[in-house]
């Protein structure tokens, strides 16, 4: 509660890196304070943690749904690439994904 911080600025920085979001120093400090406040407010759920009830991830009782494996019309390569930031030879063009040798 008040005074005791649930999450540090360094921890927010680590989480932001995991979430692939670059954050500036000011943003990091501001966000750490706000996330701390939110965690305080939502920690009430821990009162229910001891209860012997099953966890629920979804409102419906669902099982996996499959469809027949049939060839059907789909997007053309041009349509699929229509929103791409960059494309080349009917493919998405992306920045390097492996480090290159110097």
């Amino acid at each position: 509660m008040a005074g005791k911080s649930r999450i540090s600025r360094d921890e927010v920085a680590r989480i932001a890196a995991l979430a692939r979001i670059t954050l500036g120093d000011d943003e990091l400090t501001h966000l750490a304070g706000q996330i701390d406040g939110i965690l305080d407010a939502v920690a009430v759920v821990q009162e229910a943690a001891g209860t012997d009830v099953p966890a629920m991830s979804h409102p419906l009782e669902i099982s996996n749904v499959t469809r027949p494996d049939l060839i059907r019309p789909s997007l053309t390569p041009e349509e699929a690439l229509s929103g791409a930031p960059a494309s080349e030879e009917s493919r998405f063009r992306v920045p390097q994904i492996l480090g290159e040798e110097a």
């Binding site: 989480i15 979001i21 966000l31 939502v42 009430v44 209860t51 409102p59 929103g83 960059a86």
Partner: protein, 496 residues
């Protein structure tokens, strides 16, 4: 202002079907109303003038072949649903300029029934918010008082209805994003049973909670639109394969005699403004006078709902929004040929996401991370079970539950924008519904100091018809008292 824009969707549909009006005239009147009012309201992010007129002309040509009661009637579409070839941003810079190459199922169904889509409405970025202030394109203003918020996340759709820019709108509701805007703008909005309306082509925020639904200025119009968009869709693995409840018949029957209506004890008291509580009590008295039995019901685990929601929704969002990776569509920042894909991804997400989206992704990533998962996400999932059991126990005693939709009337723009916890409290009465996947409506109950108050009805899963049955009954008496829909009383929109 053309008198046409005050007409209900049902009336317009009938006049178009009878050949008294063309869809083109009706569509043009609404486009004119948007042109005249939207600089003050900012309900729309994109007005598709050419597309709407082309759809209207097509509707006029195909009039004889249609038996849809909404054939040729215009609609405002929340910008979170994909419409082929029309910009779809979700209120985010990260999707600026993106034009989907396909139609969402909701849009395909609208087009099939001859409904004309006027354009895309403003929203909190990726539907995260309760005020529309989190839109990257600036806030929408409440037509009742342009210094106040129109609710969120679907503030654009609700404001468009209140400002007579459209007689119908589509919203989506993850924690209240249809019902809270409906409440604070004096309009009607329904969050159908989870799985009742296809999510195919609805840009995902929290997949186990998101649900698209109908919005209008009266209960029957809402039911007519509900009938159009609901139903099984093989493209959505969570779509319910069962007949759609007959919501239109229920709205017309509008009879509560012998019904048991449960007042949720936990959704009242501290935090609920007096004007809100008063309008709620008056609405209950009306329903009682119409022959319903009013019973107080306790749902003790609702006190955990807000906490559970603000763990579950951000957790799912942190996973869903991972798709915005700057590779296949949307914004790409910093691709100078030297930076790695991972660096470009991180820079793009910094530039493309606004503060609330970042806040929720970080919160969700934290709640799902090793060492915290059980304490946060795991506990929230248990709460979800407890809340679902509260509903099940309540529905053994009553047919529907009711509460005020929101604790307060519309607040001022800027009042809560840097206090996330205060903002989250706007949804305290709407959130339990999404966690359990049941159906819910908000409809106007009157005014408090000149601003609208919403009345919430909650029905069991796949009994969406009961929302319309109760809402229709209450509305009949309130419209008689107000001499028409509440939105006719908006000060600056009076016909002079």
């Amino acid at each position: 202002m053309s008198e046409l824009v005050r007409k209900s969707a049902a009336e317009l549909g009938t006049l178009i079907a009878q050949g008294e009006l063309s869809s083109r005239e009706v569509t043009q009147a609404h486009l004119d109303q948007i042109a005249q009012t939207d600089s003050a309201i900012h309900a729309f992010l994109h007005v598709d003038v050419q597309g709407a007129l082309a759809q209207a002309d097509h509707a006029d040509k195909s009039r004889g072949e249609s038996n849809s009661p909404l054939h040729g009637v215009p609609l405002a579409l929340k910008d979170v649903l994909a419409q082929k070839g029309v910009p779809t941003t979700c209120g985010s810079k990260i999707l600026e300029g993106w034009r989907p190459p396909y139609d969402s199922t909701v849009v395909a169904k609208l087009k099939d029934s001859g409904i004309v889509i006027l354009g895309k409405t403003n929203m909190d970025e990726f539907a995260m918010g309760s005020s529309t202030e989190n839109s990257a394109y600036g806030p929408t203003r409440n037509p009742w008082d342009t210094n106040r918020i129109p609710g969120g996340s679907g503030g654009g759709s609700a404001a468009a209805l209140a400002a007579m820019q459209a007689p119908l709108a589509i919203g989506t509701d993850t924690g209240g994003s249809i019902r809270q805007p409906a409440a604070v703008t004096g309009t009607v909005g329904v969050k159908p049973t989870y799985g009742g309306v296809s999510r195919y082509g609805l840009v995902a925020f929290s997949s186990s909670l998101d649900q698209a639904g109908p919005c209008a200025r009266n209960v029957l119009d809402t039911a007519l639109l509900h009938q159009v968009i609901a139903g099984y869709d093989p493209k959505d693995a969570t779509s319910i394969n069962a007949p759609v409840p007959d919501v239109v018949a229920a709205a017309k029957r509008a009879d509560v005699r012998g019904m048991k209506i449960g007042v949720v004890k936990e959704l009242s008291g501290d935090g609920y403004e007096k004007g809100v509580a008063d309008r709620f009590a008056e609405s209950l008295a009306i329903l009682e006078s119409q022959g319903a039995e009013i019973i107080e019901v306790s749902c003790p685990n609702f006190k955990f709902a807000l906490g559970a929601y603000y763990l579950i929704a951000p957790s799912e969002a942190s996973s869903n929004l991972a798709r915005f990776d700057a590779m296949r569509y949307g914004l790409r920042v910093g691709d100078d040929g030297a930076r790695s894909a991972e660096e470009v991804m991180s820079l793009t997400r910094e530039a493309g996401f606004g503060p609330e989206v970042k806040r929720r992704i970080i919160l969700g990533t934290y709640a799902l991370s090793a060492g915290y998962y059980e304490a946060f996400y795991g506990s929230a999932q248990k709460v979800r079970t407890l809340i679902t059991r509260d509903f099940a126990a309540a529905y053994e005693k009553v047919d529907v539950l009711v509460s005020p939709t929101t604790p307060t009337v519309a607040f001022k723009i800027g009042e809560k924008s840097d206090d996330p916890v205060a903002m989250y409290l706007s949804d305290v009465a709407t959130i339990p519904v999404n966690l359990a996947g049941v159906a819910s409506m908000s409809l106007p109950a009157g005014l408090s100091e000149g601003l609208p108050v919403g009345f919430q009805i909650i029905a069991p899963a796949m009994r969406d018809d009961r929302l319309y049955q109760v809402g229709g009954a209450l509305e009949r008496e309130l419209h008689a008292k107000w001499n028409g829909p509440l939105t006719n009383q908006i000060p600056d929109l009076q016909v002079r």
